[in-house]
């Protein structure tokens, strides 16, 4: 009887310990995957109160050994979000819709005016300068991130042709 109880307690302790160990390990793994993608300086460009379109910009860093693709973006209060790239072609500035944005291994992709950007289409109400827009980003391999992008004007001093490259 005593032996049986002892065995049961031991089994319970083993189970609990094992479970916590797995949980910790699981948590660690999640953290490692999450840190493979780091997003810096997200922002949404402030726009007129009747704007039908807004642009979101950020730096996406990929600390992994493989190219990671940003597959889609979503935000509440917009008809939809699209991935776009502004390109200079045939004398025109063209808005080219992208199926994904590639972030190179151990590199970064910079979303900025005149280049890669996320288009926020048909806002229910245009966010004001100083506000924040929450954007959900979905990457391949099931990774996802939520960024809080402050709404602000373009920077006045655009050092080293920051927004000039197309």
């Amino acid at each position: 009887m005593f032996n049986k109880a002892k065995k049961l307690v031991l089994a319970a302790i083993t189970l609990i310990t094992l479970n916590s160990a797995i949980a910790i390990e699981h948590h660690r793994t999640n953290q490692t995957i999450a840190e493979k993608i780091v997003i810096n300086n997200p922002w949404v460009r402030s726009a007129p109160p009747n704007t039908p379109m807004l642009g979101a910009f950020m730096e996406i860093h990929n600390n992994s050994n493989q190219t990671v693709k940003l597959l889609s973006a979503d935000s509440k209060g917009y008809r939809r979000l699209e991935l776009h790239k502004t390109q200079y072609e045939d004398g025109m500035m063209k808005m080219i819709k992208q199926d994904f944005m590639p972030i190179p291994a151990h590199g970064k992709l910079t979303l900025k005016p005149g280049s890669w950007h996320i288009m926020l289409i048909a806002p229910e109400s245009v966010p004001r300068e100083g506000g924040t827009v929450m954007i959900d980003l979905v990457f391949d391999n099931g990774l996802s991130k939520t960024v809080h992008a402050p709404v602000r004007k373009m920077k006045k001093i655009m050092g080293n042709r920051h927004y000039m490259t197309h």
Partner: protein
């Protein structure tokens, strides 16, 4: 003999001087060398076509409105997510810089839509004056806008997406499908800013990307020439 030689020299000198005066003002060679971010486009033989559009207060906007002084003119559309807001921001920066510079006088800023179907005068008013209360938004008859952009060398195409999600390019002369307004469309377009002289003629053009501080210098040189 001496008199003959002198008069011949005189005639040659006069001819050279006449040639110099006749051409110096037109080819802007000296001015061109000083310009950093713009190109002289002036050709008085090719005036702008007569046009009759609407400003953002639904008042007539025609050629005479470009003859009240120097103007900076650009074409854009309000559904533009990237380039057009950048251009308008650059123009507001330029205006601030020109106003800080006591030796400069800011031309008026005229913003004409490529997309009068969606950009009514009311839409233009709210959108354009957000960047600066003095900017003038212009809309109106699309056929007239299409005719007006030609001498600027400006052009555009509209992009819609078919059922499979493939982009379909529509030229300015192509009709939009009925559901285009509902589904939405984007516009690929040239993105120059133009300087118009007080005669209402295209004087110079600034290709994109625009650098307001450099534009200030060029505009001052051209207005003072």
């Amino acid at each position: 003999m001496n008199n003959k030689l002198l008069s011949s020299i005189g005639v040659v000198a006069l001819a050279i001087a006449a040639f110099y005066f006749a051409t110096a003002g037109k080819d802007y060679q000296a001015l061109k060398k000083q310009l950093k971010v713009s190109y002289i486009l002036h050709n008085p033989d090719k005036p702008l076509p007569e046009f009759s559009l609407l400003d953002h207060n639904r008042q007539l906007f025609d050629n005479t409105h470009l003859k009240e002084g120097w103007s900076l003119l650009l074409f854009m559309y309000t559904h533009c997510p990237d380039i057009c807001p950048t251009e308008l921001f650059d123009m507001s920066r330029l205006k601030n810089l020109m106003e800080e510079d006591k030796t400069a006088s800011m031309p008026s800023v005229v913003v004409i839509t490529f997309d009068s179907l969606r950009d009514t005068p009311e839409v233009m008013k709210e959108y354009i004056t957000h960047f600066d209360k003095d900017f003038i938004g212009v809309s109106g008859d699309q056929a007239q806008i299409d005719r007006l952009i030609k001498p600027f060398g400006a052009y555009y195409e509209r992009v819609i997406y078919d059922e499979k999600g493939k982009p379909v390019i529509l030229k300015a002369s192509d009709e939009l499908p009925k559901d285009a307004l509902e589904k939405g469309y984007i516009i690929n377009h040239t993105a120059w800013i133009y300087l118009i002289n007080p005669e209402g003629e295209i004087f110079a053009g600034f290709p994109s990307p625009h650098k307001p501080s450099a534009m200030v210098q060029d505009i001052k040189l051209m207005m003072d020439y």
